[in-house]
Subunit: 206 residues, 3 copies
């Protein structure tokens, strides 16, 4: 039973990696990069957050380098964008956003969960969840010489933080890992989707 | 006695973290970031240098992630800037510069000291001192898509290098750790403050 | 015999580090950095790729920090550019390109080789070869707030990937380490030099 849950999680993780790779490579098209540039962006976007997390918790070589499937997903995502970019462009923005929110939720929860295994303080486990979710996109933006969207955009990393917080708090209250993870993931997903739909943004300093 | 010194150092370290966090968040205000963006900048500026150092010397999870107080300082610094930014803006620039020089000195000395514990060659211990002191500001500038001030600005990382050099050389000459650290810290602090006061800069290539 | 080969490799590695340092510092001159900025760029360009590789495979402190000669090469490269930059500027571009191709080949092969020692999957060993070769230049470009040339430029990281692929495949086929390394290095070097000579570039998305 547990092993079926673990296998499901693994497939969802790979699916999230593929999706993030497609998003990363798409960002490269707008910047007129060549095919290798697309692949580098796809790779950094897809596995960058997880690699930073693994470096920070001392889990080296990072998961994404020990398992060839993550690299394969990243390359596959870049190939999809390269060969089918007219199709990718026609994908409804809302569908991409919902899929991205799912990936964000998954990465935030799994990141915070791995940090808890290393017995980091709760506040830093939450932080590592957000880094896992939003770190790849941040590297992508840095490589494109842009101010990372996470610094000024709508509710993105904030949703990851909220979801990770819910999960960590529930775990500390004794709720089972699976239920805590699902609750945290749903909070992150809902917050992200609703915030785009309702045009929420975080307060600014004027 | 030793434990009192260690406790003092710890409080000074946290104070330096808070100060660097305030500086990092202030940089975010000028770039029109939202409240989470401020916090991310505060966090990276305050603990980024120390985290890079810990990753490079293999001390993982990094100190700043094992102890929740560092994250608390970073978040507190961002909150201070967010709620009291008119006050922060009115703080005399000279006062901020002197406080920043104190933080730089402390981080440079503690960074070089930790590198020496790992028996790195002296030249690299000095380097790690400068990275600890100036690394956070470099990450902040990269995130803001600017050429890091450390590359072209006045005597900043150079002061950290000088202070770390003095400390490492004194230690190699057999001077006690405490005296070496104080001497190195004073050199860094004095060099930084005097260089701003006298408008010193490093030579350029024309 | 083996120890003579190892010593030769070590000297070639240091020579490559010096060359990459000179290139990194030269990039700083065009951006009007001060002498410390040149040195930082030289250091990041020369040892950045190897440090990222070492962090990712869990070999800490990274090789470039354990051995003072690498820092000395980086500082030496910056000093050469600072004091003799008119000479450096007059160096024929073709000579620099050929030397750089040699450094790239060496770093790509050594990087992939070290990754194989950690029993990473072949695809990720190849990736680490490319990161070792092209990572330093990427950090340099990020610090200069430019889109890294690796993302859009001619055949550079692609040559590193090709050379690393040849080496890894030959090793898997049972060819001896030395022969595999030489074959991979020659492929990388030839591909790079010929691609510049014939103005090859990777396909773009239009």
């Amino acid at each position: 039973m547990q092993s079926r849950a673990a296998r499901l999680l693994y497939f969802v993780d790979l699916a999230g990696t593929l999706l993030f790779a497609i998003e990363g490579a798409s960002a490269g098209i707008q910047s007129e990069l060549d095919v290798l540039g697309l692949t580098v962006l796809a790779f950094c976007t897809a596995v960058g957050g997880g690699i930073i997390r693994d470096l920070l918790i001392g889990s080296v070589p990072p998961n994404a380098l020990r398992d060839w499937r993550y690299s394969a997903m990243a390359i596959g995502g870049a190939a999809i964008v390269f060969f089918f970019h007219p199709l990718v462009r026609q994908t409804p923005a809302n569908l991409l956003m919902v899929l991205d929110a799912a990936g964000l939720s998954l990465f935030a929860i799994s990141g915070a969960g791995k940090a808890m295994l290393r017995e980091l303080p709760p506040i830093n486990a939450i932080l590592l969840g957000a880094i896992t979710g939003a770190g790849g996109g941040t590297i992508r933006d840095v490589l494109l010489a842009k101010v990372p969207t996470v610094l000024w955009s709508d509710v993105y990393a904030a949703a990851a933080l909220a979801g990770a917080t819910v999960m960590v708090v529930l775990r500390r209250l004794g709720v089972s890992p699976v239920v805590s993870a699902i609750a945290g993931g749903l909070i992150c997903f809902t917050l992200r989707v609703v915030s785009v739909w309702r045009h929420w943004s975080l307060p600014w300093v004027h």
